[in-house]
Symmetry: C2
Subunit: 219 residues, 2 copies
DNA sequence: GGCATTTTTTACTTTCGAGTAACATAGTTT
DNA sequence: AAACTATGTTACTCGAAAGTAAAAAATGCC
């Protein structure tokens, strides 16, 4: 029924290690898989436990409750993204180039279970304090994105009437990748991402390629 | 707690009309409002009933069950969109122009409760037969969109490496509008939509405006 | 007014899944 | 080996919300 199983440190046989942290991560991964597949409310902890060859109360040994599990999934997903901002940030790169590589990382993230959790599950599912933390992280990401747009406008590599809206639109467009029914084939996925980003960069309207170099926007 | 109330043919006083169809629509509208606000699972029929000054079993008089209610909301939302395809379809319009006005209608639709239901709620919430019908309608819309892209490529008004992916990306980008926290101010909303579509049409990279007329892509 | 039909309510059953208490077992320490 | 700690399980409670049965009220018709 389930796809390829999330690897589990619990063997049915009794060769279990006592590595709490690893097991906690395994619980998180299994939850992320299921949350991202069927959404928060349809996901049952019994099912998460079943995937791990464990019973439900075990999950409560590692996480306070279902919401804490969701929070950790979303937070983890968003932090993967935030962490990716750093990187060789040579001054030679134009704002557009930096933005493009950021978008590419963003898109790849969304192909993961944690990424899809972060993107597809509304923070309304969470209690107010948790939701606030998540919104805070998302606001940071939005700010980063907006800053890149502004930088690109400054150096002439990006045209935008409104960085606020542009940043939102970019994030929104990429988020929809979380709904794409992807094949296992990684090549196809990467191709989709590239096409996607090309569309955002070049737009629908044809460009005049006569005066531009053929590889206008290489990575 | 709730925003402006969906208008209801039930008055608390006994001046009720016996127009079953009207009441059914009112039930649908109230459900759409709540589904689009809090999602399917968090929405309770008691709450829907409360909004209408009615009790829960009344809803069952108009709809078989909760799922039928959701199905009707989504179907209605999508049909509003499908219906908008027709229109003065002069041969003079370029593929891009037709696509743009379609996108604009699409975007406006998403500002409605039904539209947000159709766009934000996964069809996985539905039973297999219902889900199948919805996917069918969505596939039709996707086909229309793709056809416009192909037409635009043929007449030179659109550049795209892959109409399939382009159509998906366009729909995805617009769908994210369903998550924009909008003000009541209609002007702002329209402005956002215009910016949004401009981004998709013109792209992030600056264009050479030297040879183009200032209003390259008027509606 | 009396009778049938439609519409709505009150009061209930049912189901599902989150969360818990209390016990069980394995490994570790002394 | 006894006692302690970490990890899991069995078997339960509990609440929320879907869904239903049957009575009740409104409406229309003669």
């Amino acid at each position: 029924m389930r796809g390829k199983t999330v690897s589990s440190p619990w063997q049915k046989a009794p060769e279990r290690k006592q590595q709490r942290a690893l097991k906690r991560e395994a619980v998180l991964a299994a939850a992320a898989r299921i949350f991202s597949e069927v959404g928060y409310h349809r996901a049952s902890l019994d099912e998460v436990a079943r995937v791990l060859n464990v019973t439900k109360p075990t999950l409560y040994y590692y996480f306070k409750n279902k919401e804490a599990l969701l929070f950790a999934c979303i937070e983890h997903g968003l932090e993967m993204l935030g962490g990716s901002v750093e990187g060789p940030h040579t001054a030679a790169e134009s704002g557009l180039q930096r933005l493009m590589s950021y978008l590419r990382r963003y898109a790849r993230l969304i192909e993961t279970d944690f990424g899809r959790c972060a993107v597809r599950i509304s923070d309304k599912e969470l209690s107010e304090p948790s939701s606030k933390k998540i919104r805070r992280i998302k606001a940071d990401i939005d700010r980063e994105l907006r800053q890149m747009v502004v930088d690109g406008m400054a150096d002439g590599s990006i045209a935008s009437a409104n960085p606020q809206i542009t940043a939102f639109a970019l994030a929104g467009a990429l988020n929809s990748l979380g709904h794409w029914r992807h094949r296992e084939d990684q090549t196809v996925t990467d191709k989709i991402i590239d096409e996607y980003i090309s569309l955002l960069v070049d737009g629908l309207a044809p460009r005049d390629h006569a005066k531009a170099k053929p590889d206008r926007h290489t990575r």
